[in-house]
């Protein structure tokens, strides 16, 4: 089995920052695996501005922010980028298998950084009852449909949860002529950034219902309506407060979960509630020589902090490889 110095799984902002930092810290050989056909991760579908205010002191869109790193990564001969390469297995001895069109490959690494990002929490995880028609999408999937494919998922939408992706999609859909009838949030405040509540909802006259929950999704083939009910401070339904909103689309924006299945497979300790690695410090895992950074390590609001912390992960890996510290 071939052995590489550092393998990084995931070519989003976290993986790219880690690769560049590891190189700068002296690692000679980096293999960067990305399952998609492009580097950039989730940033590719975030065509709105709001990225890089801290890191670049400039307001960039997601793809613009990503491109600045893609250029650097591609220009570095010490980083081998493999696209459409999907890591499927990792052992505690850092043996990694990945699939790509045409091959199943196995490589061993002296150090591994997992930068696999997040997936979205689903309707199923918050157990919304009712039927299961077409038109219920995680907000990030709807974002991909609209921004990458140019597909408009519906005509009248309700957003469930006020996470940033939901807020941004409320605006995005409104800009595409979709009637966004409500954002329904069970808590008293938004989980999203204040600037997003203002810029995405208030500026577009989209009602935000705090302390309300969607109690059911209705419709046989396609979403027809959602049942909404008010809740008290203990999150219990307030009797008689229920009402119905007709719509053909329900977007779910109830948070992200780190993708750490590879790490779990390798036998690392994972916090079952948050799905994050259990370790003393950010970027570390319970397996020596295996690091996690970016959204796989913990959910970040801003990509700038992903870049900063992932750079630290790259340097930690370099140090580990240099045999210096028992990280």
């Amino acid at each position: 089995m071939e052995t590489r110095d550092l393998i990084i799984v995931g070519g989003g902002p976290a993986g790219m920052a880690a690769a560049l930092a590891a190189r700068a810290a002296g690692v000679g050989d980096v293999l960067l695996l990305e399952r998609d056909q492009h580097l950039g991760g989730i940033l590719n579908q975030c065509i709105h501005p709001g990225f890089g205010l801290h890191h670049f002191k400039a307001e960039l869109t997601g793809p613009e922010y990503a491109d600045r790193f893609v250029e650097l990564v591609k220009g570095d001969p010490g980083i081998e980028v493999r696209l459409r390469s999907f890591a499927v297995k990792l052992t505690k001895d850092r043996e990694l298998s990945f699939l790509r069109p045409g091959a199943l490959e196995e490589v061993k690494a002296r150090a591994v950084i997992l930068a696999t990002g997040c997936r979205e929490r689903t309707r199923e995880m918050i157990l919304i009852p009712g039927s299961r028609p077409a038109g219920v999408y995680p907000a990030g999937l709807a974002q991909k449909m609209v921004n990458i494919e140019g597909w408009i998922p519906g005509r009248e939408a309700v957003i469930i949860g006020s996470g940033d992706i939901g807020l941004i999609m409320a605006r995005r859909m409104a800009l595409e002529g979709v009637k966004v009838k409500a954002v329904v949030e069970i808590q008293k405040t938004s989980r999203g950034l204040v600037r997003n509540v203002v810029q995405c909802l208030e500026d577009f006259g989209i009602p935000l219902y705090f302390q309300h929950r969607v109690a059911a999704i209705r419709g046989r083939d396609r979403v027809e309506s959602v049942d909404v009910v008010r809740v008290d401070d203990g999150l219990k339904d307030i009797p008689g407060s229920g009402f119905k909103i007709t719509c053909d689309t329900a977007l779910i924006s109830v948070g992200l979960i780190p993708e750490n299945e590879l790490l779990e497979m390798a036998g690392a300790e994972i916090d079952r509630r948050t799905n994050t690695p259990v370790a003393a410090e950010v970027n570390l895992t319970s397996i020596p020589g295996v690091f996690a950074c970016g959204n796989a390590c913990k959910v970040y609001d801003l990509v700038d902090w992903v870049t900063r912390d992932s750079g630290v992960a790259g340097r930690m890996a370099a140090e580990y490889l240099a045999g210096g510290k028992a990280v």
Binding site: L99, P153, G154
Partner: protein, 476 residues
């Protein structure tokens, strides 16, 4: 255009009958109202190949279940490349005072011909089913029970029937039936008229309406709803057997079910309802299922749930309704196929063929009948060497579409080639979108593959047939 037999309904019952009849020199037509087979009751159930226990020894469903179980183990699973897993089942009691009830189930099961039944004590359970809660005192061990993917069972039967000459028409809802005496039936479906000497009614929840259309309003179907909750694959090994409590009057109770794709499942509830289209789940159903499952295995929690659904058992009295309707010569009803209908289907099919023969249909074997159907390739089921071989044959098996369940672009293409027309159809065949992210990552990619393979605009791609289009508009 005339057929020997028209079968209404492409659920497990219609599919099994079509495959059984395709052994003979017959022109067979299957009419199905949905966009694909298995979109009725047969897609939403527990996937258990029951042993035959928990049925009265005199019941039709009891002996058809035992025979269906045997056919699965001895013939179909091999012939059709099915992923049948004989994991066995346990029926547990929480009070040793209930032991006589277990003895009774054992005696009744043995009368039906179920083999290997054994009452086991707590020490046996500690060794063989370690996650059971402390309240469980003893159990009946039923070794011949197993699990299967219900929709892939239907698809295998239908594909094999079609391979052997049967014709399938989906999106063909039967809306009228004219009885033409000796000439048989004229069946109106999908705007066309089809003729056949014999009509087999396997229309599930709507079998009462089809029978009435043909002039035999002899029974009524009541839906009995069952809610089921799937757990994360990480909990795959929570149970080694399918675990049952003692049965109630209307159902086998809330179970802990192993599924052949790995995710354990808990459920189903059993409540008679009025609406044949009501597949909604409820907060009450969830609470009932969790309480029932946790009584047997307290370590199961709501946080393990990754998906849920409801199914409707088509119930007409206590037993199946399988008979020739004498006042309407040529009409065979195969109705009220409640649980254990999935298990019984292969035996029901043999029985239906026999009824047809008794009523004058000549069953001449076709020498060219091909009983075998190769098992479709699924990366998630095979070892790395096999994966390598597949990718060597076709690089597209290395192109992963669904990351949660490890499904390649080629598997999605294969599914479409084998008949998938909808996102649900792709999901049922391949498991793409069936994992923890629920299609968050792969839905657009699958839609594009379907678009390519089917030559459709993306606005025509549906979740489960007309009316369930996924997007409203495509922009440049």
């Amino acid at each position: 255009m005339s057929h020997d037999v028209i079968i209404v309904g492409a659920g497990i019952t219609g599919a099994a009958i079509a495959r059984e009849l395709s052994r003979y020199r017959l022109k067979i037509l299957i009419l199905e109202k949905e966009a694909e087979p298995a979109f009725g009751v047969s897609k939403s159930n527990s996937g258990i190949i029951h042993a035959g226990t928990q049925n009265p020894p005199t019941s039709l469903k009891g002996w058809l279940c035992v025979e269906g179980n045997r056919l699965m183990r001895e013939e179909l699973s091999g012939d059709l490349g099915l992923n049948f897993v004989q994991c066995g089942q346990l029926i547990v009691v929480f009070d040793l005072a209930d032991l006589p009830e277990l003895e009774n189930i054992k005696t009744e099961g043995e009368a039906l011909g179920v083999k290997g039944l054994e009452i086991v004590d707590r020490a046996w359970l500690d060794k063989n089913e370690p996650n059971l809660g402390p309240d469980v005192k003893a159990a009946l061990y039923v070794p011949s029970a197993g699990i299967i993917s219900p929709y892939r069972f239907v698809y295998a039967l239908i594909e094999n029937a079609v391979k052997n000459g049967a014709e399938l028409k989906v999106l063909h809802k039967v809306t009228a039936i004219r009885v033409k005496g000796k000439e048989g039936f004229e069946v109106v479906a999908g705007g066309e008229v089809y003729r056949a000497r014999y009509l087999v009614n396997a229309a599930g929840l709507y079998a009462d309406e089809i029978s009435a259309m043909a002039g035999a309003a002899t029974f009524k179907i009541t839906p009995r709803k069952g809610e089921e909750y799937l757990l994360d694959k990480k909990r795959e090994h929570i149970a080694r057997h399918i675990v049952f409590p003692l049965p109630s009057k209307t159902s086998k109770g809330i179970l802990i079910i192993k599924t052949s794709d790995g995710n354990p499942m808990i459920g189903p509830t059993a409540h008679d309802i009025g609406d044949k289209e009501d597949l909604s789940t409820s907060d009450e159903g969830l609470a009932e299922v969790l309480a029932g499952a946790r009584r047997m295995m307290p370590s199961i929690s709501g946080g393990d749930i990754i998906a849920y659904f409801a199914g409707l058992r088509p119930v007409s009295g206590k037993d199946f309704v399988i008979r020739h309707e004498d006042p309407v010569p040529g009409l065979v009803n195969v109705a009220g196929i409640q649980s254990p209908g999935l298990t019984s289907a292969p035996a029901i099919a043999v029985m239906a063929a026999d009824i047809l023969r008794k009523h004058g249909l000549a069953l001449e074997p076709r020498e060219e009948f091909q009983r075998a159907r190769p098992r479709p390739a699924h990366l998630f089921q095979i070892p790395p060497e096999e994966t390598r071989r597949l990718i060597g044959k076709n690089p597209s098996y290395g192109d992963i579409v669904c990351r949660c369940e490890l499904v390649s672009a080629q598997e999605v293409r294969d599914a479409v080639k084998r008949g998938a027309r909808t996102l649900d159809g792709v999901k049922f065949r391949t498991r793409a979108q069936a994992g923890r992210c629920h299609g968050g990552f792969c839905t657009t990619r699958i839609m594009k593959i379907m678009q390519e393979e089917l030559g459709l605009p993306v606005t025509a791609i549906t979740k489960r047939g007309p009316g369930s289009e996924l997007i409203k508009e495509e922009r440049e």
